[in-house]
C-alpha cells in the first residue's frame, strides 16, 4: 500500500513522530500490520497529547458536566447552554501558546480563527471573543515584541473576521518569559433547534470539503504543541499556519446560510490535525466510516503526497456531510461566496477511515481507534519539593512599609493592575451593537437583541496562586471568574477552561495538574457551574523550565434583564461604599508581595466556598433589586486597589472618597492583601436598609466603609492614613502600560 517514495516505517520513525515503542506496537495490533507512512502520520497526530488528551483524560472526568441548562457538554466542538427564549449560547476556549511564541502575529491570529470555527461549526453566529494573555516582564524587549505581535494578530484577524473582542486579561511574570500563554475564547448564539454536531451519518451521504485550498502549511502543528521547547524555537516557524480572516468571514456567512437550509447532516472544522482529525472524529461520533479521495481535494501546491494532505493544517477549511441529493445546493451557496467546494468522499458503513488517491487506497484505519482508542495514561504524581518551603514562609517578619501612598501608586503602575486600554483599544469591541459593558470592568456584558436578556462573560486565572497551591488556585480561579460575572449582574451559568501546564511526564507537573483540576471541580460543584468543555495545553516548558500552572476559566452568566447590568466604577457623589465579605490578614501570593518585596511565596488567600456562594448570592440579589450602583471584585492588589479602580475607571471622570477601615491588622495586609470572597459596592444612602436585609438573608457581612465624596482619595486606618489626588492615581494607572512602548 505504501508509495515507493515514502520512507519505511520503523520504530525509529515512529519515535520521531512522538510515538512511544508501546504506542507503535499498539498501532500494529490495531491494524494487524505495520502502518504505512501516511497511516503513521495519521496515528501520530491523533494520538498526540493535543488531540487525544491521553495524560489529562483521567483527571478531566472529575469535572461536573451536567446541569439543567447544559445542552451539550464536553466532547463536541464547543459546549452549548440553554438561555431560554429558544436560544442557546455556544462557547469554548483554546490555547495557541506554542505558535504564538514562535510567530506571535500568525500564532495568535490563527488561534482566533480556530476558536471561531469551533463556534460556527455548531450552528452559532460568533458574537464575542475574549483572550487571556501572559508574557514575561515588559522591561525586556522580547516580551514587548511578543505582546505587540500577539495583540496585532488578534486585532488583525478578529477585527477583519468581524467578531468583536469584548474583554480579557493580560498578566506578566518571569515564569512566562520563555513560554507566553495565548488563550482565546469565543461565544456564539444559536437557535436551540438549529445546533449542528460534528457527526457523520447516513450511508452514502456525500462528504464535502469547503473553504481554502490545502497547502503544506502547519504540518505537525499539533505534535509541536505536544513537546517542550529547546533553544531553537524559531526553527519551528514553518509549523505555524498563516491566517486569512477574509476567507474565514465569508466561510462563516456561507456556513450559516447552509445551516439555514435542511441540507446539512454534520460539520466540523479542520483545525489541529486538519483533514485527519475532522474526518475520523466525525466518523467515530456517528459510528460510521468515511471514505475520501484525495485527488478531489482543492490544493494550493503541486506534488503533495497523501501524508501531507492528511496532516496539513491550512486554515479556514471545513468538512461537512450533507444529505444525498443536496450536493448542488451546497455548491451553489459556497460558490456564491466565491469559496472552494468539492465532494471528496462519502459516508460508509464499515467504520473505517479509508483514504484513497484515485483508485489506490493509501490509508485504511478504524476511525474509532484514532478518535477514541488512543492510549490513556495514569501518569505518576508527586508533590513538588518547592511547595512546602514557599508555603511555610513566615510573612509576619516582613517589615511593614510606612509610605503606603507610594505603594498604592506603585501597584497602580504594575502592568498586572494598570489599565489595559492600549490593548483593548486595538480590538473592535463594539461590533453587533451588543456591548453594554465595554472592556475595563469586571466582566463584559452583551445584550441579546430581540430579548430583555444579557450575557456576562469573562476570563480569569491566577498562575501565582496555582503555583503556591494548585488546588486552592484552581478553586479561586473558578470563584473569581464567577464573582466577576456576578459583579456585572450575571448569574453564572457554566464554564469552559484552558489548562496551561508544563510537561505531564514529570510527576510534579502532573501533581499540579491533578490538584488544580480537583480544586476547580470542587468550586464548580459548589457554585453550580458545570464545565462544558475546554482545552489542555501541556508541555509549556522551555529548556526544562515549566511555567506556573495556569488554568484559565471562561465564565458565562445570564442577566434576565440586561438593563440591570453593573459596572465597577462609582456613579455619584455622596453614595455610600460597602464591602460585602470580610478582610483577613493574608499576604501570600499577592501582587503586593511580588512587586514590593520581590517574591512570590506564602499561602494564597484561603477560600471558603460556602461564604463565596453567599457573598455572590447577596451581590446578585442586590443588583437585581436595583439597590447597587456599582460592584467591583476585590482581587489583585486588594481592597485599596479595588477602591482606587472604582474611583478612577469611570470613562468620564474620577471620584474622591472618604473611607475608614476599622480592622486591627497589618496595614499592608488590610490594604493590599487579596482575601477572597469580597465585593466592593456603592449605593445611595436611601437603600441601606434594603442592602442590610439582603446581607442578612444571605448570612454575610456587609460593612459600611465610607462615602464617595470630595476630590481626594482618603483612606483612614487605625494606625495609618492615605490622602492622594485621584488624578495622580489615574495618571499612574493609565500611563503605565503605554510608557513601556515609547
Amino acid at each position: 500500500m505504501a508509495s515507493a517514495f515514502e520512507p519505511e516505517v520503523t520504530e525509529v520513525l515512529a519515535k520521531q513522530h512522538g510515538l512511544t515503542p508501546e504506542e507503535f506496537e499498539r498501532i500494529k495490533t490495531i491494524l494487524g500490520r505495520t502502518p504505512n507512512f501516511t497511516e503513521l502520520g495519521i496515528f501520530a497526530v491523533m494520538w498526540s497529547e493535543h488531540c487525544s488528551y491521553k495524560s489529562s483524560k483521567v483527571h478531566l472526568r472529575k469535572f461536573p458536566t451536567k446541569g439543567k441548562a447544559i445542552l451539550q457538554g464536553p466532547g463536541e466542538n464547543a459546549g452549548v447552554v440553554d438561555i431560554g427564549d429558544g436560544l442557546a449560547v455556544v462557547f469554548k476556549i483554546e490555547s495557541h501558546n506554542h505558535p504564538s511564541y514562535i510567530e506571535p502575529y500568525q500564532g495568535a491570529a490563527t488561534g482566533v480563527g480556530g476558536i471561531i470555527r469551533d463556534i460556527f461549526t455548531m450552528g452559532a453566529r460568533p458574537i464575542a471573543l475574549l483572550n487571556s494573555l501572559r508574557f514575561g516582564p515588559l522591561r525586556e524587549p522580547k516580551n514587548r515584541y511578543l505582546l505587540d505581535g500577539v495583540v496585532a494578530g488578534i486585532s488583525g484577524y478578529g477585527n477583519a473576521v468581524g467578531v468583536p473582542t469584548v474583554g480579557g486579561e493580560v498578566f506578566f511574570s518571569e515564569t512566562y518569559r520563555g513560554n507566553p500563554l495565548v488563550n482565546v475564547f469565543c461565544l456564539g448564539i444559536a437557535p436551540q433547534e438549529k445546533i449542528f454536531l460534528g457527526k457523520a451519518q447516513g450511508l452514502g451521504n456525500p462528504v464535502i470539503y469547503v473553504g481554502s485550498k490545502t497547502g503544506r502549511d502547519g504540518i505537525h502543528g499539533v505534535t509541536m504543541a505536544s513537546e517542550e521547547f529547546g533553544s531553537g524555537g524559531e526553527e519551528r516557524r514553518p509549523t505555524v499556519q498563516v491566517g486569512d480572516p477574509f476567507t474565514e468571514k465569508v466561510l462563516i456567512e456561507a456556513c450559516l446560510e447552509l445551516m439555514a437550509t435542511d441540507c446539512l447532516v454534520g460539520i466540523q472544522d479542520m483545525g489541529g490535525a486538519g483533514f485527519t482529525c475532522s474526518s475520523c472524529e466525525m466518523a467515530s461520533r456517528g459510528g460510521v466510516g468515511i471514505e475520501i479521495d484525495l485527488t478531489k481535494v482543492p490544493r494550493r501546491e503541486k506534488g503533495m503526497i497523501p501524508y501531507e494532505i492528511m496532516l496539513s493544517e491550512s486554515q479556514e477549511r471545513m468538512l461537512l456531510v450533507a444529505r444525498k441529493g443536496c450536493e448542488g445546493k451546497v455548491q451553489e451557496i459556497f460558490k456564491k461566496w466565491d469559496l472552494d467546494v468539492a465532494v471528496v468522499g462519502e459516508v460508509t458503513e464499515d467504520g473505517l477511515l479509508r483514504v484513497k488517491e484515485g483508485a489506490q487506497v493509501v490509508a485504511e484505519i478504524p476511525a474509532k481507534s484514532l478518535a477514541e482508542d488512543a492510549p490513556v495514561y495514569q501518569r505518576p504524581l508527586k508533590e513538588p519539593a518547592y511547595l512546602k518551603r514557599l508555603q511555610e514562609m513566615d510573612l509576619k517578619i516582613l517589615p511593614i512599609p510606612f509610605d503606603l501612598e507610594e505603594i498604592l501608586l506603585c501597584l497602580l503602575r504594575s502592568p498586572n493592575i494598570a489599565r489595559k486600554a492600549m490593548v483593548w483599544e486595538r480590538y473592535d469591541h463594539m461590533l453587533f451593537l451588543n456591548t453594554a459593558v465595554l472592556p475595563g470592568s469586571d466582566a463584559a456584558v452583551l445584550r441579546l437583541k430581540g430579548t430583555r436578556k444579557g450575557i456576562a462573560l469573562c476570563l480569569d486565572g491566577n498562575g501565582r496562586y496555582c503555583y503556591l497551591d494548585p488546588r486552592l488556585g484552581g478553586m479561586s480561579a473558578v470563584a473569581e471568574a464567577a464573582r466577576n460575572v456576578v459583579c456585572s449582574g450575571g448569574r453564572p451559568l457554566a464554564i469552559t477552561n484552558c489548562l496551561n501546564f508544563g510537561n505531564p511526564e514529570h510527576p510534579e507537573i502532573m501533581w499540579q495538574f491533578a490538584e488544580a483540576v480537583e480544586g476547580m471541580a470542587e468550586a464548580c460543584r459548589y457554585l453550580e457551574v458545570p464545565v462544558t468543555g475546554g482545552n489542555v495545553s501541556f508541555y509549556n516548558e522551555t529548556s526544562g523550565q515549566a511555567i506556573f500552572p495556569t488554568p484559565c476559566v471562561g465564565m458565562v452568566g445570564l442577566l434576565e434583564d440586561v438593563s440591570l447590568h453593573q459596572s465597577q466604577w462609582f456613579k455619584e457623589e455622596g453614595d455610600l461604599i460597602f464591602l460585602l465579605g470580610e478582610n483577613r490578614e493574608e499576604l501570600g501570593g499577592s501582587e503586593y508581595l511580588a512587586l514590593l518585596h520581590g517574591f512570590e511565596g506564602g499561602r494564597p488567600p484561603q477560600l471558603d466556598l460556602c461564604k463565596e456562594r453567599a457573598v455572590q448570592g447577596a451581590c446578585l440579589e442586590a443588583i437585581r433589586l436595583g439597590i447597587v450602583k456599582s460592584a467591583h471584585d476585590c482581587s489583585d492588589g486588594g481592597l485599596a486597589i479595588a477602591l482606587a479602580e472604582a474611583c478612577i475607571t469611570h470613562p468620564e471622570r474620577s471620584w474622591g472618597i472618604e473611607v475608614e477601615l476599622k480592622e486591627d491588622m497589618r496595614a499592608d495586609a488590610l490594604l493590599f492583601g487579596e482575601s477572597q470572597s469580597r465585593i466592593l459596592i456603592s449605593l445611595s444612602e436611601s437603600r441601606i436598609e434594603h442592602l442590610m436585609e439582603v446581607a442578612c438573608h444571605h448570612g454575610i457581612k456587609a460593612s459600611l466603609l465610607g462615602r464617595v465624596k470630595g476630590d481626594r482619595f482618603q483612606l483612614q486606618g487605625w494606625n495609618f492614613s492615605l490622602n492622594v489626588d485621584p488624578q495622580r492615581m489615574r495618571d499612574a494607572y493609565e500611563e503605565a502600560l503605554p510608557s513601556y512602548f515609547r
Partner: protein
C-alpha cells in the same frame, strides 16, 4: 406618508451591515434591505448606505477592490441622480476609492487599529446628513479603524473647506479641534466630508454604534434622522 427605504450594500467582508439595518429598522422605524454586491442594478431606494467592515479583507488597499464590485455602478448612477449616499468607515474608504468623494484614507499615524469613543465637532449643520445638529455641536461617537487618516492635496483641502464640505472634525470635549485631539493623524482633524453636490457623505466614526442608551450614547441617531428629515423635505 410611507417610511423611507434604505439600501445597505453588502460586500464580502462587510461586517456592519446588520448593525446599520438594526438601527434603521428597530431604532428609527424605516425600511432597510441588504443589497448583494453582485447586483448591477438596484431601484426603489431613497438612500444608500455603504457600511463599515473589511470588504475583500482590506487586501491590496482598503476599498480598492470593492470599488470594482458590480453594485458600485448602481451606486454611482444613484449618486449622479442626486440620491443620498452615506459611507461609514470602510464605506467612506470605498467612496474615496470610487472617486465619489475627494481625498484618501491612509493608515493611522500610530500604525495601530483604534477602537474607542471620541468627540467630534459638527462643522456644517445645514446638510442632508447633519441638519439635526447645530454647527459647532460636539458629539461622542466610536471610531473603529486602521486606515482613518484623511489626506487630500492642498487644492482639494482648500475647496472642501471653502464649500462647507467638511462635516466633522475630531476635537476635545469642549470642541477644540487641535492636534492633541487628533486620534489618527487626519489632515486638519477631518473625520467626515461630503461631495460638492452635497448628496454623498463619508465619515470614519460609526454613528450606528451610538443610537441606543443601552450602548452608552444616542448621539449618532442625528446622522440618520437628518437623512430622513431631508428626504421628507423637513431638514
Amino acid at each position: 406618508m410611507r417610511t423611507m427605504r434604505f439600501g445597505i450594500v453588502l460586500f464580502p467582508g462587510s461586517n456592519c451591515e446588520m448593525d446599520c439595518q438594526h438601527v434603521l429598522r428597530e431604532v428609527l422605524g424605516q425600511e432597510a434591505d441588504l443589497l448583494w454586491h453582485k447586483e448591477e442594478k438596484v431601484s426603489g431606494y431613497d438612500a444608500m448606505v455603504l457600511p463599515g467592515g473589511f470588504s475583500y479583507g482590506d487586501y491590496l488597499r482598503t476599498g480598492a477592490i470593492a470599488r470594482f464590485s458590480p453594485i458600485m455602478k448602481a451606486v454611482e448612477a444613484f449618486a449622479a441622480g442626486g440620491g443620498l449616499v452615506l459611507g461609514i468607515c470602510n464605506g467612506f474608504q470605498i467612496l474615496c476609492e470610487a472617486n465619489l468623494l475627494p481625498g484618501a484614507l491612509m493608515r493611522n499615524r500610530n500604525l495601530h487599529f483604534i477602537c474607542k469613543q471620541v468627540p467630534i465637532r459638527v462643522e456644517n449643520g445645514r446638510t442632508a446628513f447633519t441638519n439635526a445638529f447645530q454647527s459647532g455641536q460636539v458629539l461622542r461617537l466610536p471610531i473603529n479603524h486602521n486606515e482613518g487618516c484623511f489626506y487630500a492635496d492642498l487644492a482639494t483641502l482648500r475647496q472642501i473647506n471653502e464649500k462647507g464640505q467638511v462635516l466633522f472634525r475630531y476635537c476635545g470635549g469642549k470642541g477644540e479641534a487641535s492636534e492633541a485631539y487628533n486620534p489618527n493623524g487626519s489632515l486638519e482633524n477631518i473625520a467626515g466630508i461630503m461631495n460638492e453636490a452635497g448628496n454623498v457623505m463619508g465619515m470614519m466614526p460609526h454613528p450606528e454604534r451610538a443610537c441606543e442608551q443601552i450602548l452608552g450614547s444616542e448621539e449618532g441617531r442625528g446622522i440618520f434622522s437628518s437623512i430622513i428629515r431631508r428626504w421628507k423635505g423637513e431638514g
